[in-house]
């Protein structure tokens, strides 16, 4: 059924694809059909080509710099991209990016699921639409505004909480005090969690709303309380959707640039390694954005593009996983 250009000839019934045959020998329609389907297919192909090109171009620009790199790209903490013997590696960027994004996810997913349940199950009728709209508004706020707000307004508020944690549970390595008072990994995670909350909520909401009514009624008829109905009917039905929402949100958090760039405290070059979440650092995106002025030679640019490529691959994997999970349960995609 791939021919949609009016050449359909089989007796495949009155499906949209074979319908143009009805126009018989009217050439204008056929040419129009051919052009139109060509344009549509062409646009689809453009999208495929674009994504492929992104990968190819990033790779081709990164390879020369990677070949010159004297340090191990995957495990080194150095970032010295100029000169004849550049040494750069991404392990620190990877750690900061992933840990901040995971914190964001750990905060945003439970809250987002609860908000989605609130909107679909608990909110009184008049509040459903406005509540959904308000949460969506969070997604409309430009990320640069999140950056300003996080840096200038929220930072002083969260600071005492961090001090409290380092004072009382600082013996745990990830809560150890590092003396960084600016933007810590932990704090970036908090700001990111606000930014990805609307994604989690929107997708979860959509999935929860599609729980078959008989399942819910069945649970209630068996004497389940409202919460038990949600636990036994709504949540199991929505789990794949929630997982996929979490993945998409993670992808967004990994790539978030400007808010992180504003907030994060960059470390001194020789700062000692620590697992603490109260350390500063740089994510892939913020390292690239912070050094946009350094893109003056192909070699330097290539190093940053290599970092961007890792970020691309990372988000690619996460998004593809989200897609696979949602494909696995077709019920709410079609």
């Amino acid at each position: 059924m791939s021919t949609a250009t009016g050449v359909a000839d089989t007796g495949s019934g009155p499906s949209p694809d074979s319908a143009p045959a009805l126009s018989g020998g009217r050439a204008p329609g056929r040419i129009g059909d051919r052009l139109f389907s060509g344009a549509a297919t062409g646009s689809g192909v453009v999208v495929v080509v674009l994504v492929t090109l992104i990968g190819v171009f990033l790779l081709s620009q990164a390879i020369p710099s990677l070949l010159k790199n004297q340090a191990n790209f995957l495990t080194s903490r150095e970032w010295e991209v100029a000169g004849d013997a550049p040494r750069f590696g991404i392990i620190e960027l990877l750690w900061t990016t992933v840990s901040a994004s995971v914190i964001a996810m750990l905060v945003a997913v439970p809250v987002g699921v609860c908000v989605a349940l609130f909107i679909t199950e608990y909110a009184p009728g008049w509040l459903c639409r406005p509540a959904a709209g308000l949460v969506d508004l969070l997604a409309a706020v430009p990320s640069i505004v999140y950056g300003l707000w996080g840096l200038l307004v929220v930072r002083p508020v969260v600071r005492p909480f961090e001090t409290f944690l380092t004072d009382h549970v600082g013996f745990i390595p990830i809560f150890r005090s590092t003396g960084i008072t600016g933007g810590t990994i932990f704090f970036i995670g908090i700001v990111l969690s606000v930014m990805i909350l609307p994604i989690v909520t929107a997708i979860s909401r959509e999935v929860f709303a599609q729980t078959p009514l008989p399942h819910k009624e069945g649970a209630l008829a068996l004497g389940a309380t409202h919460w038990e109905m949600i636990r036994t009917a709504v949540l199991p039905f929505g789990t794949p959707g929630v997982i996929s929402a979490a993945m998409l949100a993670l992808g967004r958090a990994l790539g978030e640039t400007i808010a992180v760039t504003f907030i994060v405290s960059t470390l001194a070059r020789d700062a000692p390694w620590t697992w603490s979440l109260f350390n500063g650092g740089e994510t892939f995106a913020s390292r690239i954005a912070n050094n946009a002025a350094e893109f003056d030679s192909p070699q330097k640019t290539g190093a940053f593009i290599a970092a961007g490529l890792v970020l691309f691959v990372l988000t690619f994997i996460v998004n593809a996983m989200a897609r696979v999970v949602i494909e696995g349960r077709k019920a709410f995609t079609e």
Binding site: A4, L22, G32, S43, L138, V141, H215, A224, I288
Partner: protein, 322 residues
């Protein structure tokens, strides 16, 4: 999705009911899914607790929204009430001096947004038409998958890609149009997905009625299907526009800031609201710059919110006619 996938307690309960006939209490206890959470009091408590948790989660989510809007509005409103903000640029105004406006940045943001939309809308809408009306088999699956991937591409990666093509490969300067190209990459998936949703909502009967009248497929799509879904598509475009106008990362890499009015997309720097915010942010401690920063942020939020609200209103009042 079949009911067999669900741990629906129905079947088990029925079996148990027949086994434990005599006492009603035992029947209640024999409903395994609901019994294991304790006595009636505990169950009610859990239920109430869940209700409280859901309400407070919503309250929690509202805190940052109100907080952000309040912060930006209260810090930025003063400059916005002065007419000079809407009529002047920052030409010849240094960071420590009050005055000037944001018209150069507003203009730049609008021009770039518009050009981005002009490029993305045809590609996006046509791709969606392909996916819904034509696409079958592996290519359609591939396109759909790539749209998902594209919607997940971080804006900084899109910017790097355009930089690698535009500046490194072709040797062009960093100009407004390069920014547009990066924004196109971010806008296409938004338009494809929203248009796709809308086209799927158009009832098949409408298409079949058209075919039955002997109308060719392409005329059916362009004269019947698209008009039916028009308002939904417009909504998608506006929401996509709102997203790319608030985008900053590509501007940092591809669109340096200038204080002058600049409308040429192909030569020279082009100021935008996000880069204006970024510029004034670096002037730490200078009160006039900080005021301008918040005012520019408020202007940007207003711009994005207006687009969003317009999109939602169109969606509400002009939803697919059946």
């Amino acid at each position: 999705m079949t009911s067999a996938d669900l741990p629906l307690p129905g079947t088990r309960t029925q079996v148990n009911v027949s086994q434990t006939e005599p006492e009603i209490i035992e029947v209640a206890q024999a409903t395994p899914r609901f019994e294991d959470s304790g006595g009636a009091g505990a169950r009610r408590l859990r239920n109430d607790l869940a209700r409280v948790v859901m309400w407070s989660a919503f309250g929690l989510a509202m805190i940052p929204l109100v907080w952000i809007l309040w912060t930006v509005a209260s810090s930025g409103i003063e400059l916005l009430t002065q007419s000079v903000w809407w009529t002047n640029s920052q030409r010849n105004i240094t960071a420590s001096v009050r005055g000037g406006g944001a018209v150069h940045a507003i203009q730049g943001t609008l021009i770039q947004g518009l050009v981005t939309a002009v490029i993305s809308v045809p590609i996006g809408v046509l791709s969606a038409i392909y996916l819904v009306e034509y696409g079958r088999g592996r290519l359609a699956k591939g396109v759909s998958f790539m749209v998902d991937i594209l919607s997940g591409v971080p804006s900084i990666v899109a910017a790097l890609f355009v930089y690698a093509v535009w500046v490194t490969t072709f040797g062009f300067q960093r100009v407004g149009f390069a920014v547009c190209l990066a924004l196109v990459l971010l806008m296409i998936p938004v338009i494809v997905r929203s248009t796709e949703e809308m086209l799927k909502l158009v009832p098949n009967e409408v298409r079949e009625a058209s075919y039955a009248l002997g109308v060719p497929k392409w005329v059916t799509i362009s004269r019947v299907v698209l008009p039916t879904a028009f308002s939904g598509i417009v909504t998608g475009v506006l929401l996509g526009l709102a997203r790319v106008m608030g985008e900053t990362a590509p501007l940092l890499i591809l669109g340096p800031y200038t204080k002058n009015i600049a409308t040429n997309l192909f030569s020279g720097y082009m100021p935008t609201l996000p880069t204006m915010i970024n510029q004034d942010r670096t002037e730490t401690g200078l009160e006039p710059a900080v005021e301008r920063m918040w005012a520019a942020a408020l202007t940007l939020i207003l711009l994005v919110l207006v687009l969003n609200l317009a999109g939602r209103l169109i969606a509400r009042f002009g939803s697919v006619r059946t």
